[in-house]
Amino acid sequence: MIDESLLELAAPSRSFRSDAWRRFRSNRLALVGMALVLLLLIAGLIGPFLVQDPLIQDRLKFKTGPDSQHWFGTDQIGRDVFARIIYGIRLSLFVGFLVTLLESLVGVTLGALAGWFGKWVDSAIMRLVDVFLAIPYFVLAVAFIAVLGRGISAVIVTLVITSWLVTARVVRASLVQAKEFDYVEAAKAIGVPTRRIITRHILPNVIQPVLVLEAIGIGSAVLAEAALSFLGVGVQEPTPSLGLMISRSKSFFSEAPGLLFFPALAIVITVLGFLLIGDGLRDALDVKEDV
């Protein structure tokens, strides 16, 4: 038996979590991502109380460039673009976080069921995932929206239905892998209760890839909402949505490029922020890259 105090002398004990955080902090791109997301959260949560009403039309100014009253100018019917973007960011973040939360609940539950029970439960769930994944994403989305009707709640439900699939697959794969690890076998052999094996030895291995996936997933959900709204099947006028703003402004590009440029920039910043955080987490947690 080794005297534990000797081990403490040899190296300061550091938990995996503090180790990961240290690695994350030293990653410059990940910090840029954090800063971008922080900026967006401030803009989305506090911004709406400070800016003008995004629906009010200034009847004297259409498609004007930036000035002191309208920082990003006005749109084709005289609404303040800056206010619409702030509200659009709030909507994007709301959709991104809510979709990711619901989607990971469904995906983790079903993926865990499949991975843990194996056999027919596994085949049934994973077959379903395969079939859904084989249908092109937008076809599925448009079909669901046709059923649910247009609008924000239809977008959220549709995105949840189409995005839990990958989560379930990842959870199942890492669970199946974790079950085979030698230390799990060992824990079983010395009679550690199942509940403790799950919480102490298996869950940490499953949770990490999910964290990475969901961080990037928030960005993907934002992108998907923008794309659906752009195609005209997502959020409807007059609700300020970044994708909708882009689709409405394309015919005025030469006169008012800002109408397209600013919402596009907002989308890029949002998606990029979450992408960089996800990448940082992947490196910090040392998750194997999946295609």
Binding site: F138, V139, F253, S254, I267
Partner: protein, 335 residues
């Protein structure tokens, strides 16, 4: 090997059937009566008798289960029925749109493979250099730009700005549609055709190019740590030889897998690109059909797209199993 292929073919048929079934029944969850829509209803009232006749013509008056079985039977003989919108055979719509999709996907593929792999190799060979960092940062930013914004940026540049500022004619490009539809040997575009093809192909390839570059970089770096690379270096091969003969060949396996799977996706899922550039392919038609509640067109096109996706996947997996016995024996994930 034969059992493996057989198992996968059965799996593919199951997937196609499942996808077809999902889309078919989704359609019947729709709140409105399809016969009424076909008869021109929705906004204005249509006489009851007309709706009834339409329902009979398209077999919509039978119970859903009967319609489903009939439809499956027809699909088994490759008869996808007629479009609700313009009464055309769905199979002829497929025949007309599939070539445009496949050609666009192939050229997008060529771009993502050549640009993506070269950038990935460059990044890996000069790890942490300026070129590497620049590639990584550009890749992250590029993958955050929505496809439709990228499409518009191209259109504004080549279709509007270039004309306003008298740029040379080779950058003044058409930004809408298929163009003259001239192809040599079915795939090589004529000069005029190239002018219409180049932009949608680049935009369609953009997202995957980034993934290919990243994947190539990762696998190159991983492979270069292998024992056989050290051996190759020890026996005195030059760095160029090592890269060409050892690192690259092994690092390309996952990249080629990705490219194969991605091709299946590009054929059917180029919806945003096709919409922005008005390219007459499969993906954009599916969305139009779904919005117009045009069941036969929607299910028919979806079935084809799912089949292509599954079939390409199958080919990739079979070739993979051919080269790597661990896969066909099932000792390594069957993916």
């Amino acid at each position: 090997m034969l059992t493996y292929i057989l198992r996968r073919v059965v799996g593919l048929l199951f997937t196609v059937w499942g996808a077809l079934t999902i889309v078919f029944f989704l359609f019947f969850l729709l709140p409105d009566n399809p016969a009424n829509l076909i008869a021109g209803g929705g906004n204005r009232p249509v006489p009851e008798s007309v709706v009834k006749n339409v329902a009979r013509k398209y077999g919509l008056d039978k119970p859903i289960a009967v319609q489903y079985v009939n439809y499956l039977g027809n699909v088994a003989t490759l008869d996808f029925g007629k479009s609700f919108k313009d009464d055309r055979q769905v199979s002829s719509i497929i025949g007309e749109r599939a070539p445009a999709s496949v050609r666009l996907a192939i050229w997008a593929m060529v771009i993502e493979a050549s640009v993506g792999i070269s950038l990935g190799i460059l990044s890996a060979k000069r790890k942490n250099s300026f070129a590497d960092t620049a590639t990584t940062v550009t890749a992250s930013v590029a993958s955050a730009i929505p496809v439709f914004v990228l499409g518009y940026a191209f259109q504004q540049l080549t279709g509007v700005y270039a004309f306003d500022h008298d740029w040379p004619s080779w950058v003044r490009l058409p930004v809408q549609g298929l163009g003259p539809n001239e192809w040599f040997l079915g795939i090589i575009p004529s000069i005029d055709q190239l002018r219409s093809l180049v932009q949608p192909a680049i935009v369609l390839a953009s997202v995957s190019t980034v993934i290919v570059a990243r994947l190539t970089r990762t696998t190159m770096l991983e492979t270069s740590k292998s024992d056989y690379i050290r051996t190759a270096r020890a026996k005195g091969l030059t760095e160029g030889q090592i890269t060409r003969k050892h690192t690259l060949r092994n690092a390309m396996i996952p990249v080629i897998t990705f490219l194969g799977i991605d091709f299946g996706t590009l054929v059917g899922a180029a919806i945003l690109t096709e919409t922005v550039f008005n390219w007459p392919g499969l993906g954009s038609k599916i969305v139009v059909a779904a919005e117009g509640r045009d069941l036969p067109t929607m299910v028919g096109l979806t079935t084809v797209v799912v089949f292509v996706y599954g079939f390409v996947n199958l080919l990739v997996d079979i070739s993979y199993a051919w080269f790597d016995p661990r896969v066909r024996l099932g000792t390594k994930g069957s993916k």
